[in-house]
Structure formats: C-alpha cells, structure tokens
Symmetry: C5
Subunit: 320 residues, 5 copies
C-alpha cells in the first residue's frame, strides 16, 4: 500500500460531535469509495486468487470435456469444502485475536499520550501554585518546556527533526542544548528536574513534581516499547501463511458449489478476510496512525493558557 | 436513528433495586416494543435485504418457468450456503469483539466518572480535617468548586454551556473567571490548587490534596481521550462492509432452503445481526448514553452534605 | 425466579477446603436437584418452546395427511437447519461474552470488598504503631469504626438499616451521628479522618493513614458504580431477543431431524442455552450473591483481634 | 481423583532451563503416561459414555432386526448430529472461557506471591539502608520476620501448622506470640510495624516502609479472596451439566456415522472434552498446585543473604 | 527444533521504520523460506500424519479390492467428518487461547523490561538534580550501577556470567562484591540504596529514589515469576494431546473426501495447526526471544549520556 493510501484510510483524526452523529446514523453502512483504497493495499492478491478460480473453471469447462481427469470428482463435491470448514474457526480466531492484540497496542499508545497531556497540565498547575513570586523566569521556562514536551517526544519517536512549532516555543540556546542530546525526551526530563530543583525548596513538593516528570519519562519509555517491538514476527507470518494457503486452495471447493460465480465469490471472500488481517497490520504501529501533530498542538496550547491566566487567578483566590 | 430514539433506547439511567429485580425475573424475556425503536435505527437496511430476497423469489417463480436460466442450479442448492457458513465465524467474531471493545470504552468512561465522585469526596474530607478553623472562606470555596467539578467536566465534554444548577453553585465572579478559560476543567484544577496552597501550610498534606486534584485532571484527560478517539475507522468500516455484503448475498442461498419464507428469514437474520453491530456503535461514545446529569447532581449533593455536617462532626470527635 | 430459589442457587458462600475437595473430585458431575431450582427461573419459557415443537408435530401428523400443505417441504429438510447453524456462532459468542462481562463485574466487586478488608486491617495496624500511649480513646474509637466500616458500606449498598451487629460495635451517640447522614460511608470516612487528625501530629504519617481512608471512600464509590450501572440494557435485551427468536423458530428445523423426539430436544436445548444466559443475569448485580454478611463479620473480628492483642505486642517489641 | 494423582499431575514446580528446552522441542508431543493419571480423575464417566454407545449398538444389531423400532430412523441419520453441531460452539466457548477464568485466578495468585517476594526483599533492603548502627537487634528481628513471612502466610492459607523450617527462623517467644493470634499474617504485619516504629525515627522513611508492610497485608487479603471465593457455583455446575448431557446424547448421532467404532469415538471425545473442563477445575484453587514450599524457602534464603552480606556492603559504599 | 532454528525464527529484534514499512506492504504475504525453519521444529510429526494418510490410501486401493472390509463404509463418507467438525471449535479455541496466554506473558516481560529502562533513567535524573556538588563520586558510582543494572538482571535470568560489557562498566572491587552474592539484582538494589542513603540527606527525596529502586527489585521479581512458572503443564499437555489425536484420526475422514490428495491435505492441515500451537510454545519463555542484549546496551548508553551532559545542563539552568 502506498504511503498516500495508508494515510487517507488509516490515519486517525480527532473525532468531533458531527463524526459521532454520522457514525451512529444508518448512513454509516452506505458504500463509499474507501474500499478502493483498502483494496489498493492488497489488490494483487485478490487478482491472484480470482485467477486461480478462473483457471480451475477453464480446466473444468475446456479440458475435462476433452478427456482431462475430472478432479475433484463429482461425488465428493458436496463434502470437499469440509477441510475448509473445520479450519475456518482456527483461521478466524487467529486473525481476529491478532487484530485485537494490535488494537490493544494502539489503545495503549493513545492512553500513554493521554498521560503526556496530563503530565504537562499537572506540572504547570503545580508550578503555578508552588513557585514563588520571584521565580517568574523559572515558571516561564517550565511552561516553555512543558509546551514543547509533546513535540520533543513526537520528534524522538518519528525520527524527524523538531518541527518549526516546537522551535517557536523554545529559546535558541535551549534548542542547542536539546540538539546536543541523542535521547531528547530524557533531556527534557533533566531540564524540568533542574528547574524544579532550583525553584522549589520544599522537598515534599519537589518530590510531587518529580513524580510527574518520572511519569513523562515512563511514557517516553512506553512509546519506545510499543514502537520498537512488534507482535512476534512468527505470529504475524503464520497468520499470513494460513490465510494465503487457505484462500489459494479454496477455489477447488468453490467450483462445484458456485460454478462460474466462483471467481467472484473467491474475490469477495479474499477481500473480506484479507481486510480483517490488514486492519491488524495497519494499526500495529500506532504512532503512524494517531494524529500526533494535533495532540502536540493541544499540549502546547493548554500549557500556554495556564501561563496567560496566571495573574488573574492568583489575585482572585487571594481575595477569597 | 433519530436522536429521540437513540435516547429512548440507549440512554442509561441509575439502576434501582426494582430494576435489578425485573432484570433477574423470567419476565425480562417478554417481548416489549423496544425492538421497534431499535429497528428504527436501520429499518431501511432490513427492508433492502428483504427486497433482495423477494426479487430472487420472483425471478424463480416468474422468470425461470418462462425460460430464464435457473441459477443457482438445483444441484448446488444443498451446499450453496457453505461460503456463508465458513465466513459466519469471522463475521460473528468481528462483530462481537468490536461490541466488546465498545463496551470496554463505555465501562472505562463510567469508571473515570466514578473517580470524579471519589476525588471530590476525598478533597472535601481532607479539607474538613486539615483546614484550620480560620479558613472558613477557603473551605466554603473548595466545597463550591468540588460541587461544581462534575458540571464543569460535563459541560466541557458535551460542549454545552454550564447549566443553571452549576451556576447556582458558584459565585458570579467565579463564573466569570471560569468563562474566561477555554479548557475549563484545567481552570477548576488551578482554582482548587490555589485554595489548597493558601489554606494548607504543611507541604505533606498539601501534596496529598494535590494528588487528588491531579486525579481530577487525569480524569478530564481520560474523558477527552475516550470522546475524541473512536475505534479505528477502518475497523468499524470493514465490519459494516463485511456485514452488508454477507447479508446482501445471503438470499441466494436462502431461496433453495426456505422458498418464500426466505424474505422473512432474511429480515429476521438482518435484524438480529445488525442489532449486534448497532449496540457496539451506540455505546462507543459513552458520554452520550451515561446519565451524566444525575452523576453531577450526586457529586454536588455529597459535597454539600459534608459541608452541612461539618460543625457537628468536629465537636463530636473532639469530645471523644 | 422467586427470591428463595435465587438464594438457594446463586448466593455464594465462603469456600472451605472440603468444598474444594468436592469440586475437584469426579463426583462434581453427578446430577443433583439444583437443575430443578435453576429451571424454576424460566420453566415457563421451556414449556413454551416445547409446546411449539408439539404443535408442529401435531400439524405434520394430523393435518398434513388430511391435505394441509406440507411445510417445510421434504426436500429442504436436510438444509433447513442452516440458518440456525450460521447464526449459532453469533448467538453463542453474544451469550458467553455477556456472561463473562457479568463475571468480570462480580469479580471486581469481590476485589473491592477485599480492599475494604485490607483498608481496615492497615488502619488499625498503623494506629497501633503510630498513636501515642495517651491516645487510648482515639485508638478505641478508630477500632470501633474500622470494625463497623464493612457493615456501614453493606447497609448503604443494600438500602437496609444498620443491623444489630453493627449497632453493637458503635456507641449510641456515634449511631446517632451516622443516622443523620444520607451517605453513610462518607460519614465513616469523615470520622476516621477526624480521629487521625486529632491523634497523629506528624503530617507524613497522617497522610499515609489518609491514603487508606481515601481507599475506603474509593471502594465505596466502586461499589456504587457497579450496583447503580448495569450492562447496557440494549445489550441485555438484544441477547434475550436473539435467544428467544432463535429458540422459537428452531422446532421447524428440528421436526424433520428428530420427529417426535423434537419437543424433548427443544426443551433440553432451551434449558441449556437459557441457563447460560441466566448465569450472566444472576451474577450481574454481585452484592446480591456475595456473602456480604460473612465479610462484614470477618472485618469486625480482625479489627477487634488487633485491639485485644495490642498490649502484649508492644511490650514484646520493646524488649527486643 | 485421588490426592496422589492430583499432585503427580497438577502440582507446579519451579521451571528450569532444561524444562523450557524440553517444552520447546518436538518431543513435547510424544505420548507419555500422564493421560493415565488425567483419566483417573474421571474414568468412570468415560466408561459410562462408552457404555451408552455400546448399548445403542446392541439395540441396533440385536433388537432392531427382531422388530424393535428402528430409531433414529435411517433417513435422518445424515442430519441427526445437527443439534450437536449447533450447540458445540456454546459448549466449547463455555468450557474454554471457564478454563481461562481459572487460569486468570491461578496467575493472579502467582503474581500476589511474587509481591510477597518483593515486599520482603524491599523491607530488608530499606532496613539495611535506614536502620542505625545501634539497631542491630531490630534489624535482626526484621530479617527473621521477613524470612518467616512467606511461611506464615502459607500456613494461614493451607490451615496447616507452621512447619519446622519456619520454627527454625523465629525465636521461641516470637512463636508463642504468633500462636496466640488467630489471623497470623496480620500478626506478622503488626510485629513488622512495631519494629519499624521503634527503629526508624524519620516519619517519611517510616511511611515508606509501612507501604511495603501494607502491601504484605494486601497480598494476604488477595490470597484469602482467591482461596475463599470460587467461580460462581452455578457457572461451574451448568458447564458440567451441559457437558454431561451433550456427551450422553451424542452416541445416538454417532451410531449412524461410526457404527461399532462409536464407543471408541465416544470415549475419545469424552476424554478430550472432559479433560478441558478438568484443567479449569484443577487450577481454580491455585494454592493447591503452586509450589508454595519452594517459594517460602526462597523468601527465607534471600532475606538471610542480605543480612549475611550486610557488613561488607556498608564498608564498601562508605569507601566510595 | 534446534537452537539455531529457534533463534533464526523466533528471536525478536528492535523494530525499525523499514521493518514497519515492509510489514504494512502487500509484500508481507509473499512466501519466504521461514516455513522451512518453522517446519524444522515438528517436521517429524507432519511426516507421521502424512504417512497415516498414505497407509489408509493404500489399504483402500490395494487391500479393499482384494476383499478387506471396506471401512469406513461408503454410506457414511459424507458425515464421517462430523466428529471432527464438532470438536474443531474446542480445539481451535484451546490453541488460540493458549497462544494468547503466551503472548500476554511475552508482552508482560517486555513491559517489565521497559520499566527497567525507566527506573535507571529516573534514578540518574534524580541523582543529577538532588545530589550535591560534592557527591561526584557517589553520582559516578550510581551511574555505573544504573548502567550495569540491565546486564546484572539479564545475567541473573539467563544464568550466564556477567558479560564483558558489564564488566567494563563496574570497577573491579564492585565486580568482586557482585560475585559474592547469589541473587545479584538484590545486590544491585542494596548498593543503589546505600549510595542514595549516603548522598541524599533529605528523607523525602531519599524515599522518592527508594521508590525507583523498589521498582527495580519488583521488576527482577516479575522476571523471575515469568521465567520460573510456565503455563500449567496439564494445560499445555492436554492441548498437545487433543491436537495429536485429532490429526491422527483425521485421515480416516479425509480419504473419502480427498482421495489420494488426502496425504497432502493432511500435511498442510498439520503444518497450519501445529504451527499455531508452536507459536504459543516458542514465546512462552520470553527472555529466550526478546533482544535482551540490545536492551541492556541501550540502558547503559542512556545512563552514560546523562552523566556526560551533566555539567552543561547545570550551568544552563542556573543561568535561566
């Protein structure tokens, strides 16, 4: 599947109320053209399976009347599908369980990113409440690094350079420091630790903020874990092998059942079953499909909003 | 499905002992009219499938006797359902697993809201025990914001304005402050932090209360995560596509089996299978079906009860 | 199902070694009379299904020989069960998954109650180690409320009044205080907080004990969550509808297969399948089946044992 | 199943590298005599099912030729297995899900015991780092009780008396104290608390060690929860009932299919299916099969190793 | 399966972007030669099953025409596969659930190793922020032990000696100390505790770092738990027994269906089904397949990077 198609089909976006409304309506079942892009990921295979069915059909309509052995023989026609029936369970279970394992990875990745949101919000909130009036520079620096924390982690995971949005958040010397590190999320953790160590004297509060920084480091580790470990390759490979063999031999059983409709039937079955396997494959590396850029932008926006509202809030609570 | 039907059918309510009694009795299986409202979500599709079955029936009873090719031929009648049989397992697994993923999202959302209950109860309890006698204003303010915390989160999730109940809980200047924020649950967190920072001098106790506030922020993040991320769209779309294709071709196999009963059989099967898929879709966005308003009211009631009982309790324990 | 039968069959009890021994022996498969009580929950439905099978039999043996149309026709007899076969997966999956969701709720409820055990044990242990010698009254009061904590939560969940055992644990004025609250577990939490606040001066230790109290409040919230939220009603209703429709039409297919044995076959199938669904329903509200009263008694006994042993222990450790 | 067989077959042992090597080799599939011991758990039932098949065979070969009604009639022979086919799915799901619930219980019990390992290791480590030089007696006492903690919990769960290994670890007066308690793990928790309270003055470090003690108490609670609660009895009973009924009626369908091979086929099927159910039953009470005694010995060994190495380590770090 | 093959096939490696690209492309389904190595694990069994099919074929083509009894008789040919069909559910469920339990163990092991990453990163970060300027030696020592922590745990699990990389990280006297311990991860924990106790005076910060050390100890315990406990042996054995018996008898049913194609069909089915079981077996002991050496190298590299960057960072934050 070309990168283009993959993106058009599988990249998630932030879901809105209108999306949910559409999803719940009966219109969700209406055919759209997404199947073209799905199919583009494995149409060669579907053609291959249909071709096998066509060849079997030609054999029976062209060669058998001219004396070629009539195999499979007529009398087994009604039971020939049995070897397929008794293995269809194992195949379906294997594919659907594998898809669910991929889904669990994807959801865990989403949850870890949710924690990055939470960590930056909590750090800024705690700094707001606990940093002294005189620590304005430290507070501003902490807000800058919290705002950039999402971008830094994203750049680390996607091996891209830090984008212009992130560069707009940090000061030049901070960017230079960051560039000198190989593992940049750890650098962000170190910087945040140093800010907290310099601005919070009380060890209890310092430890509470350190908890949040440790969560950020743990989240970075969890993202790396998901990205650098795939579902055991032998599992993926055997599922694929089972599916391809099963679909390759299926036309022998379909011919007696469907006659010349069997190439169509075979193609439809191949599309449906390979589609199930394909879902699991496409979401197995979740950072490829999650709308990471939107997430990073929201993290930055939330951190900056807290900094902007800071003055008003303090005065307000003091009055109370 | 119109919004009305959706609500009548899928909105949860707080379950009472009488509900449980009914649920456990044999009467739970008695047919009621809910199937009408369920069906209203996809009756067009059921009609469409029945229509296909009718057309196939007409073809065989009207056109075939007048010379149209008798397809599917008689001799395959007894095995034509096989392609459906060997894929029914994959289809059922796909639908039921998807429904369970939706259920897991729904239950997680419910659990997160349970934590909002807990957080507000714990904050008020801790403030009651740890705020000094002279911090009456701070205590009252904390109670007000805890009581409003549920409404604030609900309004944030459902993009509605803060309702009148919540407005009755907060002071006008507090409402104005809240209105100036874009992300209001963070604002509530900031306010609670500031109250704690001003009223609790001991850093250990302050950190313990901050833990609860951080849980509130995390819960808000978890709600956003669930609401703004749906199950990967390709998964939902492929399940729907599998189901629609499967049901569209099924009447070809049913005709030989059921004859003119096949439109009815097809309609019943379509209703049962689409109903399973429909459950998963309707509960996928849980904030649409959970009785959020009741939850918010209970949060407010519990917080206010603690404030009301405060005096009596303190005296009582001092005596002991 | 009458309340009596439900209790005889579904109420759990604390499992002993003898129970485990019986469960592991081959005798566990011996038929006993529990099926009578199980059946009492839905025997009307089983009779209804058997009746349908009888009516179909009468139609074929009485009316068909006298000229009534022979439907279903003979030639489809061998495939008429196919619509049932291809939906049996979906039905079985739906029922078994639903049963497992109920089981997960039941086990979570049991785990939450396990935490109530732990919380009360830990609170008493911490008070024993950290309360000063002069805080005898506070220690005694904490033990009393820990001992009663289980009863208070049970009474809150089951909407019953506090039983005589709990009333024997608390002093009259404490009972009066408790009665004045609507949400009594919160009241217990407040009292425990106040005791700790008055007896433990060190804020670190106070926060550690507060952690345990917060766990008690969270457990109360978790119990309420499970009790006041059922599995989405549309899910339960659709499973029931699927099952009833499936079993209602099944006799049409069974007649050709089993002849006059079909009423018996239908009744047995109905008993087995409705039994599976019934398990899920009966354990969905776990507080109805868990032996709550035994749990509360153990909580009280453990707390009182610590108080009783207190003196001996202190002397003993001091010597060491 | 006699206790002997159960042990020979189901008791786990600590897995070594050689075990893993054997498990991964093709030799794992070679038949061994374990099936004899497995079968010994339910051979009476297998004989009973085979007997039914034999009686049906005798009926058809002896009585039918002499005029007994030929039931099931020949013409349904090819479809009589259908009622079994459409329920085999529900039966298999029920059995396999139940087995997995048992497995989850077993693994949770193993994980809880893993935490007992961790707790004792952490407590000894913390005491080593935080107890003063002058607290040698307290340190020794803590090591003794940590070393015995596993044995105490095991004795509590298995209702046996404390074994000689544990008695060798504790002093006589400590054993007397322990014997005076009904709930001995709580006693161990109290003693550990008292030691920490007397040796660690800093409340922060004391709270950190208390966390570990609380984990021990929680683990004891979790073990009790698993041991004193079985999977709902109605679930176990209905699975057994489903299986027994299914296998009892199966020979009627098997006769036409397999003839006189049907007693053998029935016995093999009964052995395989009852074996699946049996696994779930045997591991449902995990403390019966886990090698608890080895675990307790390792706990003691690890705690004593830390005590032995203490001197060397301290000097070493001080130098650095 | 020889150790060589196992490694070539099942050892995981750190997944790169190119791997993910290949995995998502249609080329993932192309046959490669991995099936040769997979097959090498159980080819004897596949040959054995094919041989049975050949013998049955010879019996029917050689002996039956010469008067041997024609068993299975012709008239049951079309239903003889039924005993296999009705048990194929149970077999498939058993195998796939077992494979998923193995997968869960493997993923838990990976997650635990992810925590070892996090722990060492957090410890170095905290030491960087909280150790005083004068504690350079302690900081260097902590970095050394954190860098070696992965290697120490790996050596403990794989019963190998500490490799040369680890020996390059620690000083000779440190290696000697380590060698004197039987349980080396506990030794590493003790050393880290002692360093923290000597360098951090503030008890709050000391407790925060102790939390991370406790996590390391817990991770070591979790690794031991996974490595020293296999999925209950009776479960593994019964799955194998079910599979072998099922495949041994299958050729009797296949002969009538496939004729002389049945040895091939049997071999393909055996390869596919035994392959599923084999996956579960090969990943059940995860430390055998995870790229532990790469992980340890990354842990060391990250720790050393923080130490290298220390000076620059401190100056930088002080300026701000």
């Amino acid at each position: 599947m070309s990168r283009l198609n993959h993106h058009a089909l599988f990249e998630d976006h932030v879901v809105t109320a209108a999306d949910w409304y559409h999803l719940r309506s009966w219109r969700r079942h209406l055919p759209d053209l997404t199947w073209v892009t799905v199919l583009s990921g494995f149409w060669l295979w579907v053609v291959y399976f249909a071709l096998i069915a066509v060849l079997i059909g030609l054999y029976h309509t062209v060669l058998v009347p001219r004396g070629a052995p009539d195999w499979p023989p007529k009398n087994v026609a009604s039971v020939l599908y049995q070897p397929f029936a008794i293995t269809s369970f194992a195949l379906a279970l294997l594919m659907v369980f594998r898809t669910n394992s991929s889904y669990a990875r994807w959801w865990e990745a989403r949850t870890v990113w949710g924690q990055v949101f939470n960590v930056t919000r909590n750090l800024v909130r705690q700094a707001d409440a606990w940093f002294g009036e005189e620590d304005v520079a430290a507070f501003q620096m902490l807000v800058r690094w919290c705002a950039a924390a999402g971008y830094i982690l994203q750049a680390h995971l996607c091996t891209a350079k830090l984008g212009p949005e992130a560069e707009g958040l940090l000061h030049p010397e901070e960017l230079k420091l960051l560039a000198s590190w190989e593992h940049r999320p750890i650098c962000a953790g170190q910087v945040l630790s140093s800010i907290v160590a310099s601005a919070v004297k009380d060890s209890q509060l310092r430890a509470a903020m350190d908890d949040q920084i440790a969560t950020y480091i743990n989240d970075a580790g969890a993202c790396e874990r998901i990205q650098r470990t795939c579902i055991p390759f032998c599992y993926t490979r055997h599922t694929s092998r089972f599916l391809i063999l099963w679909l390759t031999f299926l036309p022998f059983a379909l011919w007696e059942i469907c006659g010349w409709a069997s190439p169509v039937a075979e193609a439809v079955l191949a599309f449906l079953l390979m589609g199930v396997e394909n879902i699991g494959i496409q979401i197995e590396e979740p950072f490829h499909v999650l709308p990471m850029h939107s997430y990073c932008a929201v993290i930055a926006k939330n951190a900056l909003e807290v900094a902007r509202e800071r003055k008003g809030l303090d005065l307000f609570v003091e009055e109370a």
